[in-house]
């Protein structure tokens, strides 16, 4: 099992969700986050007072999947979240040791 964590542009969230549903992903967790990468921040100007905003708002997705779905998931997110401009985000993949469905007590791939 794999845990895919993706940082994407907020306005791409709906596209990514649809793409993931399309390939059979059963659930995702979404968090509003802030951070910086190569895009850095931006500046705001109020009556001449300039403020550098270091951290930009992004959306973090977490998707737990069976290992055989990994390539499809990565492709779906990459395609759906891509604008070709700096700041599109990143995908992190890590191994997932155990999953438990709280309601039934199922474990492992059955719980996904």
């Amino acid at each position: 099992m794999k845990l895919v964590t993706a940082i994407i542009k907020p306005f791409k969230l709906d596209d990514v969700r649809e793409a993931l549903s399309g390939i059979g992903v059963q659930g995702i967790t979404v968090t509003e986050v802030k951070g910086f990468g190569r895009q850095k921040g931006h500046t705001e100007l109020y009556r001449g007072a300039e403020y550098v905003v270091d951290f930009l708002p992004k959306v973090k997705l977490e998707v737990a999947i069976k290992s055989d779905l990994l390539d499809q998931v990565i492709e779906a997110i990459s395609k759906a979240a891509n604008t070709g401009k700096i700041g599109d985000g990143k995908i992190f993949v890590s191994s997932l040791e155990q999953v438990v469905r709280i309601r039934t007590g199922e474990t492992g791939p059955d719980a996904l």
Partner: protein
């Protein structure tokens, strides 16, 4: 306002309408329901400028933790100035014919009854109209010391300032026998009395209180510019009461005051917007709203004396001038006038007062110079005297009031309270419970 009356008479005579003179003189004695209806409306409009117009304009520009404190200061000032104006302020400003103050004859509004007239309107209406000016002028100063003044100190300061600074200066310019009005200073709706006065007091307050903690290093962006734009819009609308109402009648001068107010404001809004666009790359919402207020300020003294093209020039000058003052000069000098009370009202007021002397010239489409003045140079010189007198008196008096209060009760909140925000530390409330 006696100056204005004599101007009207002169203008009427000049146009050869000699037959109109007796009827004019007669009109002064009787109540005009048309004038009264307009002045009732104008009075409500000017109150609307402070609550909620100016309150929202300012509240949007502070940080979320101080939003309520600014609204509270404006509301408390409205209430406090009303009471003080009724008790003694009106009498100091309009109670008699001294050169420097009106005296105490009208304390507690003695003699101001249902049947008392002021020109063609009830004196109650005149008194209340002037009261709304006495409310907004101190409220303008709030912008200079926002986010750091103790509420109790603010109340003391405003009460004393109204009686020692505002009311006397109002008398100098508008009161019967007032020495600045007598000199021929043209100030139709309050460029010196309201805007230069409040702007300079604000500058002094910003300097005496010192900078906000963290200024200018820490980011202090406006927390809700939508409130600011809504407030600026209300100020714009309310200002018709301020300027066209200052004619104290529903007549041609009031009509022209309304037209030039609209034109100057639009010109200033565009001037600020384009200045910013040119120098910073983008036109900003705060910029166009600030420009509109700068234009409103600058046309205030001129609104009874200039024509539409004069208004265009005054508006454009104010938009560019105030932009430079608030956006370029303030950061260079380093004082912390939080919301640019000086940059907009002080500078805009000075630009307007000086240019009134230029564009009141009949050759430039104006309504004419003050009595006994026959050139732009002389009129501008007189305007200059008015500006300097107001500036010097306000500067010294405000400084003394603030220093004495600082020694007695302290002006600033503690550092901890400032960091926490004035909403919680002064009022035990917060603006947003989201």
């Amino acid at each position: 306002m006696s100056i204005r009356k004599s101007l009207n008479v002169r203008a009427a005579a000049a146009t050869g309408a000699l037959l109109a003179l007796p009827s004019l003189a007669h009109a002064e004695d009787a109540l005009s329901s048309g004038d009264t209806a307009w002045m009732l409306t104008a009075t409500a409009l000017v109150l609307f400028m402070t609550i909620p117009g100016l309150s929202l304009f300012y509240a949007g520009m502070v940080r979320a933790k101080n939003g309520l404190s600014v609204m509270m200061q404006c509301f408390a000032i409205t209430s406090l100035m009303t009471v003080l104006w009724a008790v003694i302020g009106y009498s100091i400003a309009f109670g008699g014919e001294g050169a420097y103050w009106g005296g105490l004859d009208k304390m507690f509004l003695a003699g101001v009854g249902v049947d008392t007239l002021s020109g063609t309107i009830p004196e109650t209406v005149f008194m209340t109209f002037q009261m709304t000016f006495a409310i907004i002028t101190p409220a303008l100063i709030v912008g200079a010391f926002a986010e750091r003044m103790k509420f109790s100190a603010m109340m003391w300061f405003m009460a004393i300032w109204l009686l020692l600074v505002y009311a006397p200066i109002a008398h100098w310019v508008w009161g019967d026998g007032g020495w600045l009005g007598g000199k021929g200073v043209l100030d139709f709706a309050g460029g010196t009395v309201v805007h230069i006065n409040a702007g300079i007091a604000g500058l002094v307050a910003a300097l005496v209180l010192g900078k906000r903690k963290g200024y200018p290093g820490t980011a202090m962006p406006p927390h809700n510019l939508i409130l600011t734009v809504v407030g600026a819009g209300m100020l714009w609308v309310g200002w018709f009461g301020f300027n066209a109402g200052s004619e104290l009648a529903a007549d041609g001068t009031a009509g022209m005051a309304m037209a030039v107010t609209q034109i100057a404001t639009a010109a200033a809004a565009l001037a600020w917007m384009f200045s910013e666009w040119l120098l910073h790359g983008k036109p900003s919402v705060l910029g166009i709203a600030s420009g509109a207020v700068a234009g409103l300020v600058a046309i205030t003294p001129a609104s009874g004396s200039v024509g539409p093209m004069g208004a265009l020039a005054i508006g454009a000058a104010a938009g560019v001038g105030c932009f430079i003052a608030a956006v370029k000069v303030k950061p260079m000098l380093g004082y912390d006038d939080s919301l640019d009370a000086f940059g907009v009202h002080g500078i805009g007021g000075i630009i307007g007062a000086l240019l009134t002397g230029v564009f009141c010239a009949p050759s430039l489409g104006g309504a004419g110079f003050a009595d006994g003045v026959d050139s732009i140079g002389t009129q501008v010189g007189i305007q200059f005297v008015g500006i300097i007198a107001t500036l010097v008196y306000t500067l010294i008096a405000t400084f003394i009031i603030l220093k004495v209060l600082d020694a007695l009760i302290g002006l600033r909140v503690t550092e901890e309270e400032e960091t926490e925000g004035l909403d919680l530390s002064q009022h035990d409330e917060r603006a947003y419970n989201l």
